[in-house]
Symmetry: C2
Subunit: 201 residues, 2 copies
DNA sequence: CTTTTGTAGTTAGCCTCCTAACCATCCTCC
DNA sequence: GGAGGATGGTTAGGAGGCTAACTACAAAAG
């Protein structure tokens, strides 16, 4: 992700200092906000580097995980489906589940298909639609990579006790639910737009 | 950031279910991990959308903030520096502070310079180096945009009490410090590499 | 004083994300 | 049953990340 975040978070005193100049700056909110993004960034880049070692990006890995359903796989195995081990999904469903646009999903599926991890098949009933299916290669890949992936998550969260994890989840859920309700007004964007009051022109 | 993250986090029972199949899956660690990334993603995209309304990306905004030092500005004002209101920084310093590569910083500075928010000046003592300076336009822009930016942070963190914020910061700090110590082994990456044991070839 | 090593910045090429526009197909409704 | 709208998927073009390779310069080592 590296999303251009301050590597060294400002000390709390500096935030207090800033609050003097900017009355809108709430030091504790700002501190929590920065820590949230900074920590998430570090954790995310750790996972991304780990996945990169196995030659896959986080985005593509996410698509594979969405398509992968081990429980479903066992059921299908009984049917001897062979090459269709997990339930097929359409690009639109995948895009919605992953929270990216359909155009982005098209690109991801393109590269996954090029690498032989995924297959596109036209839908027999609706000719607009496609089904995206995992290949056996992808199945083997996921089985091979998952344990290390889970171990890394465990290792990252190791310093927190069970109750601390519960607390963290509870607090994050509060923030997430609140954030989901905040809708940024959709105004027309412009390049480094200046409001009339502050515009030099 | 939208980093292709599951929009609907799996329920805890599903994680328990998955743990049966994958002994390496620690349900509470996985839950905390996913909530951390999911929440951060939501919060981040909120901020990014807000900045987009003002025609600037998070990355460019971060560079401007790094170059901006209101306290320094006040000092310089006494010197009547005029067009050099904040301490100059080199691209390398900016890249380190922002946690991106120098190549990325070059690109960001390019676009900022194109938009007239930043200026490059050669260093008089070391001819390899450049100084990056905020323009007056950028100063006005930051003064105009900052209050809304701070308000948004406050609003995002509103559902947490002061003590909850402290707790959140404490838990996140634990995770961050731990994550910083985890070094992913640097092996040669490959495209969707399969280990010999699971390779079909 | 020359050579080697290291550092600052850029360039080139790739990947993933976005929006906007575009077809093709389905569905609804007159 | 044909027109208009909704939906699924792709394409085109842009931005911000990355690595790797390159240039220019500075500094250390011989």
């Amino acid at each position: 992700m590296p999303l251009l975040l301050l590597k060294d978070l400002p000390r709390y005193e500096c935030l207090l200092e800033g609050a003097k100049e900017f009355p809108d700056l709430d030091p504790s909110a700002c501190e929590a906000f920065l820590h949230l993004l900074r920590t998430s960034d570090e954790v995310f880049s750790l996972v991304e580097k780990d996945l990169a070692v196995h030659g896959i990006s986080h985005g593509r890995f996410g698509v594979l995980m969405l398509l992968w359903n081990p429980a479903q796989r066992r059921i299908d195995a009984a049917h001897a489906d062979g090459d269709c081990p997990s339930g097929p999904r359409t690009p639109a469903e995948l895009a919605d589940a992953a929270g990216v646009t359909r155009a982005t999903m098209t690109g991801l599926i393109d590269t996954l298909e090029r690498d032989g991890l995924v297959r596109r098949e036209p839908d027999p009933t609706d000719r607009r639609m496609m089904s995206v299916l995992l290949t056996e290669k992808a199945e083997r890949f996921l089985v091979g990579i998952s344990p290390a992936h889970f171990k890394l998550m465990t290792r990252i969260m190791a310093p927190l006790s069970e109750s601390e994890r519960k607390t963290l989840v509870r607090l994050l859920t509060k923030v997430l639910e609140n954030a989901s309700e905040i809708a940024v007004p959709a105004t027309e964007p412009a390049r480094a737009r200046l409001s009339p009051a502050e515009s030099p022109y």
